[in-house]
Point group: C2
Amino acid sequence: MSNTVYIATSLDGYIADKDGKVDWLHAIPNPTGSDMGFADFMARIDAIVMGRNTFETVVGFDVPWPYDKPVFVLSNTLKTVPDALADKVQLIAGELDAVVSELNAQGYQHLYIDGGKTVQSFLRQDRIDELIIATLPVVLGGGIPLFSALPAPLHFKLVKTQTHLDAIVQSFYQRATD
Amino acid sequence: MSNTVYIATSLDGYIADKDGKVDWLHAIPNPTGSDMGFADFMARIDAIVMGRNTFETVVGFDVPWPYDKPVFVLSNTLKTVPDALADKVQLIAGELDAVVSELNAQGYQHLYIDGGKTVQSFLRQDRIDELIIATLPVVLGGGIPLFSALPAPLHFKLVKTQTHLDAIVQSFYQRATD
């Protein structure tokens, strides 16, 4: 079982800008259409867990639904998902540990944990096994942060690092025993 | 003329922990005594500009004074430096632009800008030309942040990235025209 974060941030650790936008993620010239390892990553996860904010952001993108794995949206307020996504997205509520246990029991062993608040909740409970962080060469100066306060430091082990588009530094970390 | 930041941060962007300590910087096994490029970097700068907090932190380290280049401490409150450092450290006060102009006029063309608040002041005025950031594989969950709010995003260009001790990702950035 594993819970993995795969995300992009600014140099100052924001995953969206002051207006909640991620346009800056797509501002880097990408003539070869590199997916920065996203397809390879998606191939090794069983399902995606995201928060309501991230879900609504993705729904708002003017692109086809980008995920070919089941998506579970953590929300205590949403009651339904759009009809077009009914076979792709399920709502899920409750305590994080219970949610993860339930998904694992359903056979979803390798989870992609997405969205600022969701990642922060998982980190606070030390439930993140792997961090894959792509750092973009911009200091945004404000926005939605990837990280938040923790009761104690969490140590990770650097597995590898690679660059994309001569601009993005993507590093892979696994949780280390303290 | 150039103003360069050379600094280490946690994955969540802290340069010191909740107690203001940097012990975690030295927790990574370093059997070969790698200096992570510090000597090479120091060889190409003319002087160091740091804030009072950083100065007092360095003075508090139980090691010999680590800098062989002139150090200028930005402070409006400090009146004297310890006798032992009288020929190594000078106090300097005033507006950032005036301070930089004065140092440049004295022949200090390439400045190493150090310390959280000092770096933040330089970034707010878009006076940082180069960022050299070493990211350590720990999420501290709180502490003294490297970055702070900015009036507008600052774009940089990735120059190179390298790893140290199989643990630290050090990336070099230069300010890009927007």
